[in-house]
Symmetry: C2
Subunit: 253 residues, 2 copies
Amino acid sequence: MPAAKHERVAAVLRAKIENGELDEDDKLPSEADLTTEFDVSRTTVRQALAGLVNEGLLRSEPGVGTFVRSRRRHVYRPQDDLGETVANPQADHFIRTEAEHDPSQTIDVGPVTCPSVIATRLGVEPGTVVASRRRVRRFAGVPYSINDSYYPRDVVQGTQIEEPLDIARGVNTVLVERGFEQVAARDEIYIQMPSKDEAERLAILPGTAVAVHLVTGFTAEGRVVRVVRNVLPGDRHVITFDRVKAGTGLDAG
Amino acid sequence: MPAAKHERVAAVLRAKIENGELDEDDKLPSEADLTTEFDVSRTTVRQALAGLVNEGLLRSEPGVGTFVRSRRRHVYRPQDDLGETVANPQADHFIRTEAEHDPSQTIDVGPVTCPSVIATRLGVEPGTVVASRRRVRRFAGVPYSINDSYYPRDVVQGTQIEEPLDIARGVNTVLVERGFEQVAARDEIYIQMPSKDEAERLAILPGTAVAVHLVTGFTAEGRVVRVVRNVLPGDRHVITFDRVKAGTGLDAG
DNA sequence: CAGTGGTCTAGACCACTCT
DNA sequence: GAGTGGTCTAGACCACTGT
């Protein structure tokens, strides 16, 4: 039994959410009602609710009410990028997914001053101008991920990658045509709270962490041809990988 | 310029942290001092500080003060598990790491009632009793990760895996000896706020998300021999993968 | 319009840490 | 003992949503 009143209030509400008494998208009693129900001041009720919002369990809508948040997720599979084989497609049924209907995206293309995190991986000096494609992907109008890719200018010069259009045959195909086939990649995943800018672009609610997924793409010669920075709201995704031990014969399919 | 006073206070402090004026582990002025400095009530100061704590930027120590949090991270490489080859070891220099000195762990071994998330992946009925090894790993006394593995009972019966000891030759070697070589794995990574229990076991500060990393291990015949549930505090880790396109010759080394 | 959540104040008491 | 952050109250005004 927690000592603080606001913790006790939070514990009761948390339990109701976890046992299903309060289901996804259910509306909680108003703060005034909770004040009388728990016999505490409104400040204490709000302290309890703020805690649950920061745990990602609740969302509040000014003028409307406070609601239980949804927990459905999209499947995010970095390996689709290189077209690697999937070892265990049957493993997919483990995950509680969300239908991915009505996809859309906004694309913003052009040279940018390279952020230092990208510069380190791209192997250029910080402040260098590089080519970039910056996308926000949506499903049913809801932002799904930020997907910013950066290329050395000589690699993409004169290609479709410099144009603000969807590339049907895939960016990788264009890179192959230019003689820069991407055959290996390094993934880095950072868990952190979103910046203010990211929170706005992704319509992220308070109490939601993001995964920052950096992909550094290499040619067979070891040259870096692309760095991608994906930002995924943690409450809307599950990130999956499939791995196979080398030399077992499974890696070919 | 944000409208709310507490947001303005938070914005000023956030800027000082980001530009380095306030460095890691620096102590902030007391709440009383901030009250006079910004000419707002203490409640408003506390509201601003609470926001920054929930963003993972600050930590508070009762009776002592409020401090800027550290940002160093450990490298977490799921692929070490299967002994896969690393495509780009030179890519490691990108990451700002923390020295991993003085490792220690606590191990708790024995049969447990299988949680439903694990049961789904292990292919057993929820509520089945399975073998488990539950570890908390530490560096310099600081909790580093929760590492709970679950095995079908027939797979590990009579092996060292049932004993609460570190297995020097590796759990995988023991599985091979039993005829259950793990040759493939499915990784799932969920980003979420820690449960109360996890927060206590890992000494997680408010405003820290965790990565829940599930690994489902398969034999060549497709049998699941192990499910691992790792919990990593987001502020102390970077998760890395290395990938190689199949058939390029790089996958062998 | 009434109801909702968002913000803010002033003041109080507590447990804890450090000197 | 002085200073710190943690908790709590009572009351006020605001912007916004819905009817």
